[in-house]
Amino acid sequence: MVERDPELCNCFLDEARELLENVEKCFLNLEMANEDPSIMAQILRVAHNIKGSAGAVGVHELSKFTHKLESVILKLKNHNCTVQAKLVSLLLLCCDFLKQAIELLRVDISKDIQVEDLVSRMELVLACEMCRKRNAMPGSVTGTGACGFEHGNCSGQTSQPTDQMEFSVTTQQPSPKKSIATSDDSIRVALSRIDKLMNNVGELVILQTGLSQTKHLMQSAAQLETVTQMDKIIRDVQEITLKLRMVPLTQTFQKMKRVARDTSQVLSKEVELEISGEDIELDKNVLEQLSDPLVHLLRNAVDHGLESSEERLALGKSPKGRISLSAYHSGGRVVIEVRDDGKGLDPKKLMAKAVETGILDPDTKLSDEAAFELIFAPGFSTKEQVTDTSGRGVGMDVVKTNIMALQGEVAIETELGKGTSFRISLPLTLAIVDAMVVRLGHERYVVPVVQVSETLQIQDRHVSRVGETGSVLRLREENIPIRGLGRVLGQISSSSVSGESIGIIVRDKLQNPHCILVDQIVGQQQVVIKQLGNEVDWLSGVMGAAILGDGEAVLILDLQELVRSRAPKIQRANMGRVNQASQPQKEAV
């Protein structure tokens, strides 16, 4: 075994991983834009790069493997072979293999990589006589050669292969060129370092605010100028720091192309995937957890959503199914939509199936919307047979759970025969929240703005007493129970309702309104959510802490959680993990 230098190897592995991401995109493009020489050239470059570096760090198996791969691509490039779905599949397989090999090497650097199987398949392609002598015997050019691929002829005299699955990807903004340019200008940084940086920058901003407030004491103009200038720069730095965690959706969407392609091949359906909004950015944490739900949604769209080509033709639709995967900003959140033009959801069928599987009581009447929600129930599946692609009824459950954990929502929109769309709405980041700062007594608290449906000055004439301590606010059509924030937080002495009080209307998960009284609304600002330590994991109704402009640490309240019951129950739920704080729990009835 060759001694491998770990430093060098890690460098190679990082590089290879990035290159492979690019190359996968190229392979997919290849299928779409047949034999574009620039794409070929790029793939060749990547293969060559990996070959060279692998050889240099002593991973000879990989270098041998990529050498073969290079030969295959070269053959393609020289038009000795036409690009076909099957060949692209083989290339993608090679790409997967390389990725796996890279990950294996990352874990254990001295690992041996077995390459026999794929190499022999590639050799078949290379060795195939028919490919080589394509023009020698025109009669035998079509048909399957020894390599298992159909041999087309570039001069155009042969027929289209018949068993070829069509799959194409269109991107609204043409991106291949851009990706070539941006492949190298980024670096990897540990998230913990970014967090540290964020802490320090936050502190810097606080100090700067303090300095700015003493500006009037400064004598010299130069000093004033410096402080003003510093102020601007520090704000800039803060903004940049906050953006460091943001990552574009490009790679996630890239993966989805692959998923859609593979699924459509397995199911022999023709699918056209349309992608838009790849450049929209999300927090890295959010993005990581988004991948699984998207995979499920796409597979579902291909498998359940779209009809087979024959059915589509019979229905007068284009035989090619269309799935669109799009991302866009909406009201401070990012929406990701997976839309297909397939058969749509049938509420009656869903309900029948739910009754059959025992999820739903036969006597229950559900609205159509509620019936659509059934697909998220664990164990629910409309497929009779469990296949590789679907049928276990786990997928949609995963979708819902993961999205909820990200403080997101999933909405279904469907029309029978026209198609279904799943709309995932997500916060831009879990690290920052738009917040309202409120005061109660001497303490300030932070409330996420999304939880506040309205705020108002409480007027005595709108308040009715109920029983000894209770009071109700009559607001428009609704009677809203009033509670002091102090009481909600378990403080014994809490101020009574007075004209001075400010009411915050919060709607719980069932849309029931609650009015929480505070002394004052101090302001509105964005705050960075800091997680509390394990020592306070018993604390419920708190999402974390925030550090305000004057450097004070205050609590970020989860009002929805707090109003769930009069006295918040002690929950062992780990409040340190902010994600879980807003996860819905069964309402106590």
Binding site: M198, N199, N200, G202, E203, E443, L489, G490, Q491, K530, Q531, L532, G533, N534, E535, V536, D537, W538, L539, G541, V542, G544, A545, I547, G551, E552, A553, V554, L555, A567, P568, I570
Partner: protein, 172 residues
């Protein structure tokens, strides 16, 4: 190990350095205490602490330590001593009890004591305000007896939970 040391004075000297332990000495309600210096991250002056709802009384709340949010415990109240008068001497000791990072409020910081392990004596069976489980041992410094605190045992997260649920049960 200790027997060997007595035979050769040189070895004794070396061992002393190796076995020396340092403690941060502080005062709580007139008594002297020590905590292992290696557990101390830093000492800062008293700052604004935000109380937490439903917390046991000794759990003072959270504070901002250069962008990091840290829980603060009042050791006097933890040991059921009389409520601390916050004076100019009061300080917060930031402890690194990984994974926990905690601040504790003490009356005043005295000094750093270096001592040999062999000088640490078993805790005498006298009445102190502090539960004896929390005491590792005692050392003599000048004329004072310094009680060495077992910080991990004193300030473990499990403890906060049980006490918290008791307070809550009583309140309900």
């Amino acid at each position: 190990m200790t027997e060997n040391l007595e035979h050769s004075p040189d070895a004794h000297q070396e061992k002393a350095v190796a076995e020396a332990e340092r403690f941060l000495a502080f005062t709580l309600s007139g008594e002297h205490y020590g905590i292992p210096l290696l557990k101390v991250k830093e000492v800062i002056e008293l700052t604004k602490i935000t109380p937490l709802p439903y917390a046991p009384n000794y759990f003072k709340g959270i504070m901002n330590l250069r962008g990091q949010v840290i829980s603060v415990v009042d050791l006097r109240l933890k040991f059921k001593m009389s409520k601390a008068e916050i004076g100019s001497q009061s300080a917060i000791v930031i402890l690194d009890l990984s994974p926990l990072c905690l601040g504790v409020i003490v009356d005043s910081i005295n000094c750093v004591l270096a001592t040999e392990r062999s000088e640490i004596q078993a805790r005498p069976d006298v009445e102190s305000q502090v539960k004896s489980d929390y005491i590792l041992g005692v050392i003599r410094s000048n004329q004072d007896l310094v009680l060495l605190l077992d910080v991990e045992r004193t300030l473990n997260a499990e403890d906060f939970r049980t006490i918290e649920s008791q307070t809550k049960a009583r309140a309900a």
